[in-house]
């Protein structure tokens, strides 16, 4: 148990170190002054410049610069944005939860809709209902997410006017930023009508969530269906049938668990796609998330922001992936046989 934890911790730290090295090298690879790229502060005179040089230890060899850089990152000193001049840590602290929130709702929708539909299709494999579900998921999987989001805006916001066009919540509600997650913030906020604000926030959420979730749901359906069919064909299901267990007993005790176990690591792979899609959709819906923020940074050539933004997004993706894998490692008893020789 502890060994596994240590192994995953080492994997996590090494991956993050590589990412940090990449982000550090970006300061050199981006055009312009290294000092400015690293700190985000443009020095006005030679004295200030020398002081900054000393502060970032740029006069030392690269390796010491990097160690210092990692130390600064851990201390929370991520540099300042070119454009706004604000601390990058605060800006990302506001943008990142918005993205995570959006992705989480999309993932939740994908699981709640995708897994039952996939199971249904898998249990009735090669029947008419299976073909319908399968082709519907194929079609929705092949939609480009930005096109889909635009079509949604066109139909639901502009033509029908049932959902708002952009943003997280109507400007009429003054929601103080506490956790960064809008629904939690609304519940925590004291001076507003929470029910009204929640309704409004949900209306804002629905279009971006659906446009991301549609693609994730489609892949979830396909993964679950395949997995259920594989499990159905395995000898232990035949054995369970011959033991006279009922259909529902077999499904809940044997099929479901064994079908979902291999899906979990595949879900970890899906997270990358999910967050990428979320970032694209954010720009279309002006959702104040990290994707939108990064695009703005690219337009404005905000190099320090790009450097840290890339690191922040990568860290989130890596942590989720490793956490899911670790979780799967703990709940799947048959995983251990691949790690050491069987006797």
């Amino acid at each position: 148990m502890i060994k596994i934890l240590i192994r995953y911790a080492i994997l996590f730290v090494t991956t993050l170190l590589v990412l940090a090295a990449l982000s550090f090298s970006l300061a050199y690879l981006f055009p312009g002054d290294v000092l400015v790229n690293l700190s985000g502060i443009t020095p006005h005179n030679a004295a200030q410049r020398a002081a900054l040089m000393r502060q970032y230890q740029l006069d030392e060899p690269y390796i010491f610069q990097f160690i210092h850089y990692v130390g600064e990152l851990l201390r929370g000193n991520w540099g300042y944005s070119f454009v706004s001049g604000l601390s990058l840590r605060e800006e990302i602290g506001i943008a990142m939860p918005a993205t995570i929130e959006l992705s989480a709702y999309a993932l939740l929708t994908a699981i709640l809709v995708g897994v039952p539909l996939g199971c249904f299709a898998g249990l009735r494999s090669y029947s008419k209902s299976d073909y319908i579900i399968n082709s519907a998921s194929m079609v929705s999987y092949s939609f480009p997410v930005f096109w889909l989001a635009l079509v949604f805006i066109l139909i639901f916001s502009l033509e029908m006017g049932v959902a708002p066009l952009s943003g997280r919540v109507s400007l009429l509600f003054d929601v103080p930023d506490k956790t960064g997650f809008i629904l939690l913030d609304i519940i925590l906020a004291k001076n507003i009508d929470s029910a009204l604000a929640l309704g409004d926030a949900l209306k804002h959420l629905i279009l971006p969530t659906i446009s991301i979730a549609l693609i994730s749901t489609a892949s979830m359906i396909r993964l679950t269906r395949r997995s259920v069919i594989d499990v159905l064909n395995s000898p232990y299901i035949a054995a369970a049938e011959s033991r006279g267990l009922s259909k529902s007993q077999i499904f809940f005790r044997h099929i479901l668990r064994n079908a979902l176990l291999p899906i979990l690591p595949l879900m970890a792979i899906q997270i990358t796609t999910l967050i990428t899609n979320a970032m694209i959709v954010e720009t279309l819906f002006s959702w104040p998330g990290i994707g939108n923020w990064l695009i703005q940074a690219i337009y404005q050539r905000d190099y320090p922001a790009l450097r840290v933004g890339m690191l922040a997004v990568a860290t989130v993706v890596v942590s989720f992936t490793i956490l899911i894998d670790l979780f799967n490692r703990f709940i799947d008893p048959s995983r251990e046989k691949y790690e050491r020789a069987t006797v």
């Binding site: 395995s234 232990y236 035949a238 054995a239 011959s242 668990r257 046989k337």
Partner: protein
């Protein structure tokens, strides 16, 4: 009256272009209290037979039979609920590959306890029932010869050796106190001592509890010592069926004779360094089954009449399907 009575069982499957008969008019009966051996090479349809009886055939197989009955009840016209009930209480099945036939994500104890029918569990409240289930599981595990129940009941299928897995499969089949045990090659891949133990266990169960056993195997040596009657399958056709002693002494079908001759331990007159007698060729694949008697192309006694499938002929309780049987010249 036989417990399990199967007459002219035919299993067909579409292989894309044509419909293939994997089992062609197979007959099998198991009387109560007997050990019936079902013998045949690999690919002769033994395991299909087991699946057909246990009702776990994949849906693409089409099953037809003149008669397939359990104690007089027709198994084919049963509702799926009745069929399940029958499998749950009266028939226990031991599958070929023990590790594959167990759920990889559940412990052996959980799976064993799941196989106990509810009416055999004593106690009113769920914790009493839980305790009773555990007790029954431990008892059964001891009965099949596993000592360290604590260790093995909490183990997952991939953590146990194959012979323990096989014993667990037997325990799982026996825990519902069935009347018939279908053992599909239960000694495959075991070394001799474990094999002897498993066979002894089955024989003892047959003697003490008068459990009927359908023993499916190609291991003639193991079968000959324990079974009372034998049915020989070749390429999906029943070739010969009768009492073990009779068949061993005077096989009527050329295939049975070849099968018995090919087992060296049955012959005490085998000179040193002589070639072992075996039929030429191999068992045909399902795509290219010969017409008529399927042994035809390999049979040393085949003649023109063999392109017509031979009917079942009977001498007392010994049945065979051959146009030109052995040992019949004098009659």
């Amino acid at each position: 009256m036989p417990m399990l009575d199967i007459k002219n069982l035919t299993l067909e499957v579409d292989n894309g272009t044509a419909r293939v008969k994997a089992l062609d008019k197979v007959n099998l009966t198991v009387n109560s209290g007997e050990i019936r051996a079902l013998v045949g090479e690999s690919g002769s349809g033994k395991s299909l037979m087991v699946q057909a009886i246990s009702g776990s055939l994949p849906p693409q197989w089409k099953i037809t039979a003149d008669r397939m009955s359990w104690k007089g009840q027709n198994m084919l016209s049963m509702s799926s609920k009745e069929r399940r009930e029958l499998m749950r209480r009266d028939i226990g099945v031991v599958f070929q590959d023990p590790v594959g036939a167990m759920d990889p994500s559940a412990t052996l104890g959980e799976q064993l306890e799941e196989a106990i029918p509810d009416e055999l569990v004593k106690g009113k409240w769920f914790w009493q029932r839980q305790q009773d289930r555990r007790k029954t599981a431990i008892n059964t595990v001891h009965k099949v010869g596993i000592k360290y129940h604590k260790h093995y009941l909490n183990a997952y299928p991939h953590q146990i050796p194959v012979d323990i897995g096989q014993k667990f499969m037997i325990a799982m089949a026996l825990i519902s106190q069935p009347k018939l045990l279908i053992a599909d090659d239960p000694t495959r891949g075991m070394e001799t001592t474990t094999k002897a133990k498993v066979l002894k266990l089955l024989t003892r169960l047959n003697q003490t509890k008068s459990l009927s056993i359908l023993f499916v195997s190609h291991d003639l040596l193991a079968i000959a010592s324990m079974s009372h009657t034998m049915t020989v399958l070749y390429c999906g056709q029943t070739v010969e069926s009768g009492r073990m002693k009779q068949i061993r002494k005077r096989p009527l079908h050329p295939y049975t004779k070849a099968l018995i001759d090919s087992a060296p331990s049955f012959r005490n007159d085998l000179p040193p360094k002589s070639t072992l007698p075996a039929l030429d060729g191999t068992i045909p694949s399902l795509q290219h089954v010969p017409i008529g008697c399927r042994l035809g192309p390999r049979c040393p006694r085949a003649q023109r009449a063999c392109v017509v499938t031979p009917g079942v002929r009977r001498i007392h309780d010994h049945t065979y399907s051959c146009h030109f049987p052995l040992h019949m010249e004098k009659l």
